[in-house]
């Protein structure tokens, strides 16, 4: 898989700053995501990676700096605005509503209504269409084990729930999918499934920002690795150019690298 790093980044941020009182969570940070890649973001606890990701997903408005989507300058004030622009985020714990079923969860907040009178005036949901599309998407992503779309999400395993959340982002994300620790709460086998799912989404053309603590997972799926340290980018490496211990060394400041 070769990625052309000469083209315009899908998502780019420059000079981001966010301060909380005397604490500077994002300190003049830069960020670039290219089409068709999986970019992992790693960093020690408190390095400011979640603040960076929040700034990119609209959950946090930076004090300074600019965000560019497809070469266009954008301002992301809320997660809804980011989502409308095609940036989907998969959250670690708060991914889905357990009592609702799979189809409802996939379409939560973006339901399809029936055509004609029923949908327009009675605002009737088109449950059949939603279930049909949900099933098609799940099958496409290889989540064949889940067959019944009217099954409550709470009856699924952790990995399957994460699968539902990933499917939702792939269904609606038109530009970028951001995944915050998608494998953190999962077992070995479930993690594998989710990692394969992430690659599947990437191979379908959606670039992915992957935040993870799990070095083996990062080194397995990432095309490039953005190492965050002290509120800014400490360097960008690839799984081919550096080893895991190098990455950890850069992350903790034991090794220095010219900023990319």
């Amino acid at each position: 898989m070769s990625i052309d790093y000469q083209q315009t980044p899908v998502l780019k941020a420059s000079g981001l700053v966010k301060r909380y009182g005397s604490v500077t969570a994002i300190d003049n940070a830069d960020f670039e995501l290219y089409p068709g890649e999986i970019l992992a973001v790693i960093g020690d606890n408190g390095a400011g990676k979640s603040s960076l990701i929040k700034a990119l997903s609209g959950a946090l408005v930076p004090d300074e700096g600019e965000v560019w989507l497809d070469g266009q300058k954008v301002v992301l004030n809320t997660p809804m605005e980011a989502r409308e622009l095609g940036i989907e985020t998969v959250y670690q714990n708060l991914a889905v509503s357990p009592a609702l079923n799979i189809a409802d969860n996939l379409y939560l907040g973006r339901e399809i209504r029936k055509p004609g009178f029923l949908g327009k005036y009675l605002r009737m949901l088109d449950k059949k269409a939603m279930e049909h599309n949900a099933k098609a998407k799940m099958t496409e992503l290889g989540l064949l084990t889940i067959q019944n779309m009217s099954q409550a999400v709470e009856s699924l395993s952790g990995g399957q729930r994460q699968g539902v959340a990933v499917a939702r982002s792939a269904l609606f994300g038109s530009k970028v999918v951001i995944m915050d620790e998608p494998t953190a709460a999962l077992g070995v086998k479930e993690s594998r499934r989710v990692l394969n799912l992430i690659k599947e989404v990437r191979d379908r053309g959606l670039p992915i920002v992957l935040i993870s603590h799990n070095m083996p997972h990062v080194f397995e799926v990432a095309d490039r690795i953005h190492i965050h340290r002290l509120g800014k980018c400490a360097g960008i490496v690839t799984p081919q150019s550096h080893s895991m211990s190098d990455a950890v060394a850069i992350m903790t400041g034991a090794m220095e690298i010219e900023a990319a």
């Binding site: 997660p79 809804m80 989502r83 985020t89 959250y91 708060l94 991914a95 889905v96 509503s97 357990p98 009592a99 609702l100 409802d104 969860n105 939560l108 907040g109 973006r110 339901e111 209504r113 009675l122 605002r123 009737m124 949901l125 449950k127 709470e154 009856s155 077992g187 070995v188 086998k189 993690s191 594998r192 083996p216 080194f219 397995e220 490496v237 799984p239 081919q240 150019s241 550096h242 080893s243 895991m244 190098d246 850069i250 090794m255 220095e256 690298i257 010219e258």
Partner: protein, 360 residues
């Protein structure tokens, strides 16, 4: 790239790929499906099953015990009349409990609205339909105030509505001057207000328009909850507000709409109340708030929000109605009717907890 030595070996780790070759499960529990466990699963999948079974058993039991007097269409329609007010208020309460809230002020809103309707029509001489509309607006306003307290001031629903209950009730006493509006006055000046009490004969059953209004209301809210985006959002908000917010739902707006709608439903309840008792008393319907919670809980709605169905509440109200009616016909003291309802509530919540344990 300066001081870092390149690592040429392939970084793809194989250590957890071996997991692919294992069987398709992490652990296997060989549990024999006992009948109890199967019942538990059934009740978990269909929360409506438990109250339905109780209702059928109660009807069956009382018909054996009392016989035709209980099963007569007239008596059955009487039960329906007796549960109409609780049913309507139960609709409002279900909406709120689905969002993991609780509304202690529903009874007070209903009484306040009935007084407003009566005084507008009788004392001010407004057209009956206008008085009705004003009463419904007061219900909406009361719900709006509850919604503001809960979404803007972040007061827990229990406390917010405990406070507004007292406030609304006091306003009701002040506005009505603690006087009852007589039934004759209403029927001569504004008979529309008593329309909900009129009956139609249906094979010996005497159905009131109020009961039909209640059934219509159940159908309407059932549709809204199950077939519109709004309904899905109400469930999602009650289930997990944070997840709902991240999915792009404006949970405060949903909560607000639920409290306002509940207020409107309570005002419809006020109309039904006037039809049922004929007169308008500032002391009527005093127990409606707790009775409505009883119906919702027996109907299988979870007090933690997001789980339950609107028709469960109808069944819950009917269960209470059947027990009260049956025990009364059997000549049992009112005291023991209360006792039975109390036991039913505890059983309903107990069964709910039991179902939830270990089947998720």
């Amino acid at each position: 790239m300066s001081s870092v030595k390149p690592n040429t070996s392939t970084p793809v780790l194989e250590h957890d790929q071996v997991a692919d070759n294992t069987a398709g499960y992490v652990a296997n529990f060989s549990v024999k499906e006992s009948p109890i466990l199967r019942l538990k699963k059934l009740l978990h999948t269909y929360p409506i099953a438990a109250p339905s079974i109780v209702l059928l058993l109660a009807i069956f039991g009382f018909s054996l015990l009392i016989g035709n007097r209980f099963l007569h269409p007239f008596n059955l329609s009487l039960i329906l009349q007796q549960v109409t007010i609780i049913g309507v208020i139960g609709v409002a309460q279900t909406l709120i409990i689905l969002t993991a809230g609780i509304d202690l002020s529903v009874g007070a809103i209903m009484v306040l609205c009935s007084v407003v309707m009566g005084r507008m029509a009788i004392d001010l001489g407004l057209e009956a339909w206008l008085a009705l509309a004003l009463g419904i607006s007061v219900g909406a306003l009361a719900g709006f105030i509850n919604g503001l307290l809960i979404t803007r001031l972040k007061i827990p629903p229990f406390i917010a509505t405990l406070g507004s209950w007292n406030v609304f009730f006091a306003i009701n006493l002040w506005y009505s001057k603690s006087e009852t509006i007589r039934s004759q006055d209403i029927s001569s000046i504004a008979p529309l207000l008593q329309w909900t009490g009129e009956t139609i004969n249906f094979f010996g059953a005497r159905l009131t328009y109020g009961s039909l209004l209640m059934l219509g209301l159940f159908f309407l809210i059932w549709y809204a909850l199950n077939w519109t985006s709004w309904g899905r959002h109400v469930y999602a908000t009650g289930d997990d507000p944070d997840a709902a917010r991240l999915a792009g739902i404006q949970t405060n707006r949903i909560l607000m709409s639920v409290y306002v709608l509940a207020g409107i439903v309570c005002a419809v309840g006020a109309w039904v109340l006037i039809g049922r008792i004929g007169s308008i008393s500032p002391q009527a319907g005093y127990t409606a708030n707790l009775d409505s919670i009883t119906a919702v809980v027996i109907g299988g709605c979870s007090l933690f929000g997001g789980r339950g169905s609107i028709y469960g509440t109808l069944i819950g109200a009917l269960v209470v109605g059947v027990f009260r009616n049956g025990l009364a016909l059997a000549g049992v003291d009112v005291l023991w009717q209360e006792f039975t309802v109390g036991i039913l509530i505890i059983l309903a919540v107990g069964v709910d907890q039991w179902i939830r344990r270990g089947t998720a």
